[in-house]
């Protein structure tokens, strides 16, 4: 019994599960992490699918990883090194494209080619976003209060929230209200006139969502991405040296060092519930493990509709979980390249490509890409976010060769032929991606040594993310904060006592942020104190 009983069992060795485990172990708990796959990291994994080329298979950029987690868990000591992406480049077919440089004056001149006015407004916009980001930051670190509860602790939290809001100026309040309700483009329209600039900036509002840049609510996602913080600099994005898997590995090493036990190839079949209380888990091989806390690091659908017995949950709760929108909308293409692919509009492997590249030539282009998806097809001309990590981190490819990481949107999980049809559509999707990219980069096709195409269906099958949603659920207004994942159960706890949630499907949600895992751990530790 003794070696099979734990204080906490974390289901799923994704970054949030690992963060949660590390914090719990740090507080002295006996913790076990169970990962179904042979690698840790969930969507944050590095795999060598072609000899010598290391793909960051799914997640590929970091910006949202909370710095306090890096500090608390001493991640650099365990191998984490984040290389900043300095530039952002939006190529064009008939024009030089747009590059945003680390040098403010250079960026101003670059934007001035599109619009003088925008070039001057651009830094002011960044400053405004930084302000909003700072307003929202404390909310990220907060266990969302229940606005209907009148218990004193909860009221205190509400009061704290009220004070935060109270401290804002009227303009800031309006700004916040607008961010939550407007579309990314409507919001950007208030600031900018250049279509290419708006498209470039607007994509932050749709990454990982099943929304178009003109869909209301996407302004929030825009800001969500502005909160990325590397070395205290807002909005900066980076890649992890050695691939995204290094993040998970570093967290895992840190967790192990703090005493957590981690098992791979140990898939959980079911969560054991007795008398409304989680008692432990049953593994796929039938092993039973018990724990005082069972913490789910997988998405809400999988947790409640996959790992729990329907009888353990009431029908209304299940209905609300079913209503929680997953809607994977993106795919991933990873390429091993024989040589550097030249972009026609700005040749060379200079600074401009050592950042992230967006295939987002116009607002209408992005919206059309969404229209395809809306009616159940992948985008013929998709939005893409491309990173060539080998330019910054030569360790991921043989000398002179390159890895290209292409995040593609939209690839709806529910294509009209049905998600099961993805295996047949997958390569057509991959072709559409390469074809689109080749328009900007004619050299590309002939330099491909190997390609990996991941549809949302594949992401679901391989990583276990329901409907392939990289954020464990849409980041739409009704699925945020005290409503994530469901309004009545948004505080990491669930209707089953002792069962907790710690992944992106809870506040504050997606991205390699780790905040959900850390918040959940905090909440669990508090509950122990009370008991």
């Amino acid at each position: 019994m003794s070696d099979r009983s734990y204080d906490s069992i974390v289901i799923g060795g994704g970054h949030n599960g690992l963060v949660c485990a590390a914090y719990l172990a740090r507080a002295g708990q006996k913790v076990l992490v169970l990962e179904r796959r042979h690698v840790l990291g969930g969507a944050a994994v590095t795999e060598e699918l072609y000899p010598g080329f290391k793909y960051s298979v799914c997640s590929y950029v970091v910006s949202l990883l909370r710095p306090e987690i890096i500090r608390d868990l001493q991640l650099p000591k365990y191998g984490l090194e984040i290389l900043p992406l300095e530039c952002s480049f939006t190529p064009e077919l008939d024009g030089p494209g747009l590059v945003r440089w680390p040098d403010a004056d250079k960026t101003r001149r670059e934007i001035a080619r599109l619009s003088k006015r925008d070039s001057e407004v651009y830094p002011l916009f960044g400053r405004e976003m930084a302000k909003v980001g700072r307003m929202v930051k404390p909310i990220l670190e907060m266990v969302p209060p229940d606005p209907t509860s009148l218990n004193p602790a909860n009221l205190m939290e509400m009061l704290k929230l009220g004070r935060l809001f109270g401290r804002l100026s009227e303009e800031e309040r309006i700004l916040q209200a607008k961010m939550f309700t407007m579309s990314a483009i409507d919001f950007l329209d208030e600031w900018f006139e250049s279509d290419l600039l708006k498209a470039t900036m607007g994509v932050s509002g749709i990454i990982g969502t099943f929304q178009g840049v003109r869909s209301p609510g996407t302004a929030y996602v825009l800001m969500h991405h502005y909160m990325g913080e590397i070395d205290g600099a807002f909005r900066a994005w980076g890649i992890s040296k050695g691939g995204t898997g290094m993040i998970s590995q570093a967290i895992a090493e840190s967790a192990k060092n703090l005493g957590a036990e981690i098992r791979t190839e140990a898939g959980v079949a079911q969560i054991m519930v007795r008398a409304g209380r989680a008692k432990g888990v049953v593994l796929e091989d039938g092993t039973e493990l018990t724990a005082r806390h069972v913490i789910s690091g997988v998405d809400p659908h999988r947790t409640f509709l996959g790992l729990c017995e329907a009888g353990d949950l009431d029908a209304e709760f299940l209905a609300s979980i079913k209503k929680f929108k997953m809607r994977g909308s993106s795919g991933k293409v990873n390429l091993a390249l024989d040589r550097f692919p030249e972009f026609t509009c700005r040749p060379g492997d200079g600074m401009h490509v050592r950042g992230d590249l967006a295939i987002a030539p116009s607002v209408d282009y992005l919206e059309r890409a969404f229209d395809d998806a809306k009616y159940g097809d992948f985008s013929r001309r998709p939005f893409m976010n491309v990173v060539i990590p080998s330019l910054l981190d030569p360790s991921v490819a043989p000398p002179g060769k390159h890895v290209m990481s292409i995040f593609v949107q939209y690839a709806p999980y529910a294509i009209k032929e049905g998600p099961e049809a993805w295996p047949e559509r997958r390569e057509a999707f991959g072709d559409a991606v390469i074809e689109t990219l080749a328009e900007y980069c004619p050299d590309l096709e002939s330099s491909i040594l190997h390609r990996q195409v991941l549809s949302p269906w594949d992401i679901e099958q391989q990583m276990g993310l329901t409907e392939g949603n990289i954020f464990h659920g849409e980041l739409s207004l009704e699925q945020l904060f005290f409503m994530r994942p469901t309004p009545l159960w948004a505080r990491y706890q669930t209707p089953i006592r002792g069962l907790w949630m710690c992944a992106s499907g809870t506040h504050p949600g997606g991205g390699i942020m780790g905040a959900s895992g850390a918040n959940a751990a905090r909440r669990i530790l508090k509950s122990r104190v009370r008991a």
């Binding site: 004056d105 250079k106 001149r109 003088k116 006015r117 070039s119 001057e120 002011l124 400053r127 302000k131």
Partner: protein, 395 residues
């Protein structure tokens, strides 16, 4: 990376120190030699030639241009005569300074405005309802400052004795080396001096002509380090050093009104509405919280604290832009934002923002000064600005 200015070919080959910095995205020489002193004395004793192309320049034209400029600026320019220049603040609606610069009336319906930071979007944003055209001429117009007691003689050789008649803050069209230019009697040195506005293509010809004509009058190319010293002597403030442009401040307390930075004299309150009028009127009635002063830091005090450590007194050869606290009876009452040793006056000068009740001339304050890693306080006295104000500047 900064861009070369139209004068870069000349300035770069003359710049032995290789000391450049970025000024509004252009390469700008800090000092041509390792030490700015010779350039400083050129400004004060003969003439200095400075590339001021990086200034932002806008032309506003159209039926309502006078009304529009008066609406944007703290000055009322509706009565400004053609061929005259004025200096003004530009505020936001809360009366906080966005920028300061000169406004030249080129024509009945045409003005040129210079600013320290980009202002095109701000002009455009407020132009609704006005018959006015806003054009950014920052890149198409190159500019040189020719400053110093010999500057008038040099220009007279180039454009004729008519330049003698150009009054302080006057503007005249002229031809230098075949290039049509405009000359204003303005500057940032507090001395006799001129600024020449040149079509970009003619930049090098004008430079060469001025340098050639100036040779006999001791002209020297001058960098920003020397400028920083003379502008403090003249009591001029510098954006991003002595005050911060309001829209670029994250917190309110960083912003300043014209009254708070000693530019209250540029505010014409009683007239048709202008941006910031209401707030400035209220401040005028209520009184400002802060004031801007010139301080003379006691040299005896400096000597004393160095002597305590057995050291000779030493000050940096350049102007210092690091803010240090100012105290009055043990309590912090403000900060010094710029300071310099004045080689001519032999005084240690500073520009400071202090609580409004500390601004009286003669008031004695204390300024922090660090010697051997230890923070000390030195006596400083509020004095009149400008610290250095030669008669020739105006006459």
């Amino acid at each position: 990376m900064p861009l070369p200015s139209p004068f870069h070919e000349r300035t770069a080959s003359l710049c032995e120190s290789l000391k450049f910095k970025s000024w509004a995205g252009y390469f700008a020489v800090c000092s041509y030699e390792s030490h700015p002193d010779p350039e400083y004395f050129a400004f004060r004793n003969s003439a200095g030639l400075l590339d001021i192309t990086p200034l932002f320049k806008y032309e506003l034209s159209g039926e309502d241009s006078a009304a529009f400029v008066s609406y944007m600026a703290t000055r009322d320019v509706s009565a400004l005569k053609i061929g005259r220049v004025t200096y003004s603040c530009f505020c936001d609606q809360r009366g906080k300074v966005i920028d300061d610069g000169t406004i030249s009336r080129l024509d009945e319906q045409r003005f040129r405005v210079t600013t320290g930071s980009p202002a095109y979007a701000w002009f455009l944003q407020n132009s609704r309802g006005f018959q006015v055209e806003v054009e950014d001429v920052s890149e198409s117009i190159a500019a040189l400052a020719i400053q110093g007691p010999n500057s008038r003689r040099i220009l007279a050789e180039l454009v004729g004795p008519g330049i003698e008649d150009l009054r302080f803050f006057g503007l005249v069209a002229a031809r230098i080396a075949g290039v049509e230019v405009e000359i204003t009697r303005t500057g940032y040195t507090g001395d006799l001096g001129f600024e020449v506005w040149i079509p970009r293509d003619g930049a090098l010809s004008v430079w060469d002509a001025v340098m050639a004509a100036g040779k006999a009058h001791g002209i020297m190319p001058v960098g920003l380090d020397a400028l920083d010293i003379v502008r403090i002597e003249a009591g001029f403030l510098l954006q991003d050093v002595d005050y911060f442009s309001a829209p670029r401040c994250i917190i309110e307390s960083r912003k300043s009104t014209p009254y708070e930075i000693g530019l209250g004299w540029t505010v014409a309150l009683d007239r048709s509405p202008f941006i910031g009028q209401k707030a400035l009127r209220e401040e005028k009635q209520r009184g400002s919280d802060w004031g801007f002063v010139g301080l003379e830091i006691s040299w005896e005090g400096i000597e004393e604290i160095y002597t305590e450590y057995g050291l000779p007194p030493s000050l940096p050869t350049q102007a210092c832009r690091m803010a240090v606290p100012v105290y009055s009876t043990g309590r912090q009452v403000g900060q010094v934002t710029s300071s310099t040793w004045s080689p001519i006056l032999k005084k240690y000068l500073a520009l400071a923002t202090v609580e409004a009740k500390q601004v009286e001339i003669g008031n004695q304050l204390r300024v922090e000064h660090t010697v051997e890693y230890e923070r000390m306080r030195v006596l400083a006295t509020v004095v009149e600005r400008p610290f250095y104000d030669p008669e020739r500047k105006r006459t």
